[in-house]
């Protein structure tokens, strides 16, 4: 498209003010006032096109030539939402072939894949047609160029959700994750599909293995760890319900791996275990797990995740308070332990850099 548009613009291009078929229209200059602010050095062509656009907007002319004018205006600035809005009004008034419009907007999207207005226009036309048959293909084409394009994913999710196109999505996600296991957008899409299918114990079990297998591939990958953690939290499950997860993470740790995401996962797991022991009044020794929490938080703060040293100190202190609270039991509101924790000097985060 860019080639043909360059041609149109550069060679045979005639300014609107020189076109005989536009001689009945009085162009309207932009009114910026006497001492303009943030004045853009518009090209001659930009001024010409927009002077005429303002004119047809003022007279509310909805015609073939007006539609063509919006083509030129959008070629110069695809982010002008006023032009898009008016274009839709013209299309409606002239009862234009919407499939033609669908082709047009696909071309514009390929030239401007990171623009809000073009995707919104696409969505409106698809809604009017009530035909999503091209949407998966189009978004795949865009995601081929940039697999993390946010607008493309948004459009794809909307199409899948609105027209119930879930069927082959897991296969597509698999393809993307095999190409780049660090593609977080693909992981997010997987979660979206799973949520739709329902996070039953069985599904979660299966997905945990999916995540673990990919963590084995690269341990230092936040995306797969977040997915694993998300599964456990969103399904309202406890880590202890999945002994596989516990075994996998502890084995990894014992083998010497110190990926910060592994360590963070262990912190969460041991916090959960400690508090669970108190809540259920079980006879296990909570201090064994509590010590591990403090120890790993220290490791993160001082060695493996020093950029977040303040955060890990905070997590460690917060755990201390929660533990004291759990010890006293849930029905005791004003626990002395609480106050002690708040006032004690060592509870305060100090701003020293590591």
């Amino acid at each position: 498209m860019s080639d043909s548009s360059d041609e149109e613009f550069n060679e045979g291009y005639v300014m609107y003010r020189h076109r005989r078929e536009w001689s009945d229209v009085h162009p309207i200059k932009q009114n910026d006032g006497k001492n303009p602010i943030v004045a853009i050095a518009y090209s001659e062509r930009f001024l010409d096109v927009y002077d005429y656009f303002r004119a047809i907007l003022a007279t509310q002319e909805k015609s073939e030539r007006a539609l063509e004018l919006t083509n030129d205006a959008l070629k110069l600035n695809a982010a002008n939402y006023t032009v898009w809005q008016y274009r839709r009004e013209i299309i409606k008034a002239l009862k234009k072939d919407l499939y033609e419009e669908l082709n047009y907007i696909a071309d514009v999207i390929e030239d401007n894949p990171k623009n809000y207005q073009v995707w919104h226009h696409r969505r409106v036309i698809v809604e009017w047609l009530n035909d999503p048959s091209e949407e998966l293909l189009l978004t795949e084409k865009i995601l081929d160029l940039d697999a993390k394009n946010y607008h493309a994913w948004q459009h794809r999710q909307w199409a899948i959700e609105t027209f119930s196109l879930y069927d082959n999505e897991l296969a597509y996600i698999d393809k993307l994750l095999s190409a780049d296991v660090r593609n977080n957008s693909a992981w997010n899409q997987r979660f979206f599909i799973l949520k739709h299918m329902g996070l039953t114990l069985e599904t979660v079990q299966r997905e945990i293995h999916y995540a673990i297998n990919r963590i084995r591939l690269v341990k230092n990958n936040e995306s797969s760890w977040n997915y694993l953690k998300g599964l456990l939290e969103s399904g309202d499950f406890q880590i202890s319900q999945f002994p596989d997860v516990e075994a996998f993470t502890e084995d990894l740790y014992n083998s010497g791996n110190r990926a910060p995401y592994l360590l963070a996962f262990l912190v969460d797991m041991y916090i959960e275990k400690t508090l669970h022991i108190y809540e259920t009044n079980s006879y296990d020794d909570p201090e064994i797990f509590a010590r591990k929490v403090y120890e790993i938080c220290d490791m993160l703060a001082n060695h493996y995740d020093t950029i977040r040293y303040k955060y890990w100190k905070y997590i460690s202190q917060k755990f201390r308070t929660e533990k004291e609270r759990a010890k006293v039991g849930p029905n005791n509101d004003d626990t002395p332990a609480n106050e002690e924790a708040t006032n004690s000097e060592e509870q305060k985060l100090n701003g020293e850099a590591n």
Partner: protein, 438 residues
């Protein structure tokens, strides 16, 4: 207070480990780390001779802003529908730099913004365009930043209210313009311009908004642009700040939000990325830096309710590391700030990188700011929810109180009008505790 820079040799161990499995993500990440490493290596040598480094190109940035406020190159044609944004980015950057434009110039700015005001209410991106929430947000913030009565009068709260009703959805979400797209930006822009023009968060206009925003929180902890979308820095800021302005955090998981937010700081570069496994970018210095601040406000507010407090008197991200990334990797010596080394300067990145610098330096109102390099590198505080001068927020609240537009029946289940006179908007942590469970 003088900040300590990190040891640039030591932190090399924090560079990305691809575990011998190259993918597009790891290749690009390593490429950017190498660019950053060049900047760090260089400054490490230079600062051994001059301990006031890194240098802040304040004069050059000011000159860049002065030039842009009047004249922009043809390259800015693609922002012709965002001209009120251009104004806001310049005024907010100037605020951080403590630079004041003359009254004549500011008079011209007000005149221009009035030309962008629409007869049906709200502002457009430029003269004779349609009203849109994003340029409305930018125009209102700009007028607040000017602070004069003439500027505040130009906001036209009645028009704002009419416009907000025209873009509100039944469930409390907001479209960006009539028949436009719906996302979290809409909710944030709506509550922001609403509050600055004197509309209470209890107004029926915002019924359901907090619940809709909460639906955008993802399994990672951050917010996506709409439900089920990937957690993203810009939308997460919008979501959390909107909830703070709505005085309603009951519906959101603060623990996972905080985890996700602090994880976005890059362990080697020191700056923030906007999504998991994406690249560092100067503009997220504000979106993410301020988000961490806002989350801490929300945690504190919440803990007052469950009687369960823990002292957080320090900002939870690495304030020195962020300043290092900004000062060493994001400045153009001829003025303007950037996304990452090798990119050209633009007004958007200048505004949000400078605002991020301000967030990193000024956190606790009772403590000295933490400043990397020369003490002259200090910039003025910004309001973490609105990203304008805290004093400008206070003036806008005061002006709106003197010129009320709201009637009792506008409010949801309220017998008395609980207005929002924050005592000290700079210290957002104390905001509206009394209203929190409305």
């Amino acid at each position: 207070m003088e900040g300590h820079t990190r040891n640039f040799t030591e932190i090399k161990s924090a560079k990305f480990d691809d575990e011998n499995l190259e993918t597009l993500t790891s290749i690009e990440q390593i490429k950017v780390e190498n660019l950053v490493e060049k900047c760090f290596d260089r400054i490490e040598q230079l600062s051994s001779m001059d301990n006031t480094l890194p240098y802040f190109y304040r004069k050059e940035h000011i000159r860049f802003l002065e030039r842009c406020l009047r004249f922009l190159s043809t390259g800015y044609e693609c922002l012709d529908a965002s001209r009120t944004w251009l104004v806001y980015w310049i005024l907010q950057s100037a605020h951080c730099l403590n630079f004041k434009f003359s009254y004549e110039v500011l008079g011209d700015v007000i005149h221009f913004l009035k030309k962008c005001r629409c007869p049906s209410g709200g502002f457009a991106g430029g003269p004779s365009q349609l009203p849109h929430l994003a340029p409305t947000y930018a125009a209102v913030l700009s007028l607040c930043l000017i602070e004069t009565d003439e500027a505040l009068e130009a906001i036209d709260p009645e028009g704002i209210k009419k416009f907000l009703w025209s873009v509100r959805e039944e469930n409390g979400a907001f479209r960006m313009h009539v028949d436009g797209e719906i996302d979290v930006r809409g909710a944030y822009c709506a509550i922001t311009v609403g509050r600055l023009s004197g509309i209470s968060p209890q107004n029926k206009l915002f019924e359901g908004t907090a619940n809709w925003i909460a639906k955008c929180q993802t399994y990672e902890g951050g917010f996506g642009g709409s439900p089920n979308l990937e957690a993203h820095g810009g939308y997460s800021f919008c979501g959390a700040a909107a909830l703070a302005l709505l005085n309603d955090v009951s519906t959101v998981n603060l623990k996972s939000l905080l985890r996700w937010a602090v994880y976005r700081q890059m362990r080697y570069e020191g700056g923030f990325q906007g999504r998991t496994n994406k690249l560092v970018d100067g503009c997220y210095s504000f979106w993410m830096g301020s988000l961490v601040h806002v989350i801490q406000m929300l945690i504190e507010k919440n803990s007052c309710h469950d009687g369960y407090t823990i002292n957080i008197d320090e900002l939870m991200f690495h304030r020195e590391a962020l300043q290092e990334y900004i000062l060493i990797c994001c400045q153009k010596p001829h003025g303007g700030l950037i996304d990452k080394p090798g990119k050209p300067e633009d007004l958007y990145h200048t505004c949000y990188t400078l605002s991020g610098l301000s967030i990193a330096q000024n956190f606790n109102s009772t403590k000295q700011p933490i400043v990397i390099g020369n003490p002259d590198n200090e910039v003025l505080p910004t309001h973490p929810l609105y990203n304008i001068a805290p004093k400008a927020v206070m003036k806008a609240y005061f002006y709106a109180q003197q010129h009320p537009i709201e009637s009792e029946e506008d409010l949801v289940g309220c017998t008395k009008n609980q207005h929002n006179d924050e005592q000290n908007p700079a210290n957002g942590q104390k905001e509206n505790e009394g209203n929190a469970d409305q």
